[in-house]
Amino acid sequence: MSSMRPAKLSRELARKVLEGYGEVAGVQCAVLFSSDGFEIASHAADTAASARLAAIGSSLAALGTALAGEAGLGNFERTTIESDGGAVTIMRVGSSRSMSLAVVAGKDAVLGQLLWATQRCCQALAKLLDP
């Protein structure tokens, strides 16, 4: 049954993909997490922070899935929370519902760049999942 277990993904390879965020202006940290809120890999986040981000991110992805379904709009793809201090984007990885990526960016980030970089990162992670 559980063929989509995130354990199949190499955490080390995933972490290498996330390192690409070091090149994206304004990005503070990134956490890849399972749909039930466990951190799989992270970039620039300490253990406690990435665990919390993984749990909250998984709730938002699940609520996004519920809302898209309720509105008859198909599958959840991403959601972006914008605040006065920056933005957090949460994007589904690949076509599976098994994991998502949360990226935190400060005010100095350009939203379009953040979304573009995150989309590319999710595509690279999806390739790791299903080579």
Binding site: S35, D36, G37, A54, S59
Partner: protein, 187 residues
């Protein structure tokens, strides 16, 4: 007192993973419940295939016409932030526990500690399932645990799938709330 702005009551179902929160809401809701279940990858914590990571939402109308909004929380402690969001303004909190799980009495403390601040003006009800399993604490053991903490809260036994049992738990906080009694408050 704790009616929501629309004059409806809010009841929150909480308790550890696998206690039957999603099932209980589905058993009594008169609308198709909102669910946020995903695959459970932590089979060490519980063997079930899916787990709620956002919240459940359902709705019932009682015989007197009161509308009760039903919310179910995730059970894992890492979703504690959702407990506080969902607990706010609750007229009642129903803690569901599986007596057959090891540490069920300790779990009672975890959820009572987390939700007591939210039910200062409402009621706390404890629903215990599988008390008939061998070597499990009885409903009385849960009641004694609450009593030892100076809490007056009913501990009821019922299976999550039994509509009558779930309804008894929902009516309890609503009726306690309606009569402005001090049930569920620290004595």
């Amino acid at each position: 007192m704790s009616r929501t702005e629309t004059g409806e009551f809010k009841i929150v179902f909480t308790g550890p993973m696998g206690a039957g929160k999603t099932t209980a809401i589905a058993a009594i809701s008169e609308v198709e419940p909102v669910r946020t279940e995903v695959e459970n990858t932590d089979r060490v914590a519980h063997a079930k295939e899916s787990t709620t990571v956002g919240f459940d939402f359902g709705r019932i109308t009682l015989a007197d016409g009161s509308v009760v909004r039903l919310y179910g929380t995730p059970g894992q402690v890492r979703y504690r932030f959702m407990w506080d969001i969902l607990g706010r303004g609750a007229a009642g909190v129903i803690v569901l526990l599986d007596a057959g799980e090891p540490g069920a009495l300790v779990q009672l403390d975890v959820f009572v500690d987390a939700f007591i601040p939210h039910v200062a003006h409402g009621a706390l009800v404890v629903g215990v399932g599988r008390t008939d399993a061998p070597n499990t604490p009885s409903t009385d053991a849960f009641a004694a645990r609450l009593d030892a903490r100076g809490l007056v809260a009913p501990a009821l036994s019922a299976a999550a799938r039994e509509q009558g049992g779930v309804m008894a738990r929902v009516r309890t906080p609503v009726s306690i709330h309606g009569s402005h009694s001090a049930h569920g408050l620290p004595a």
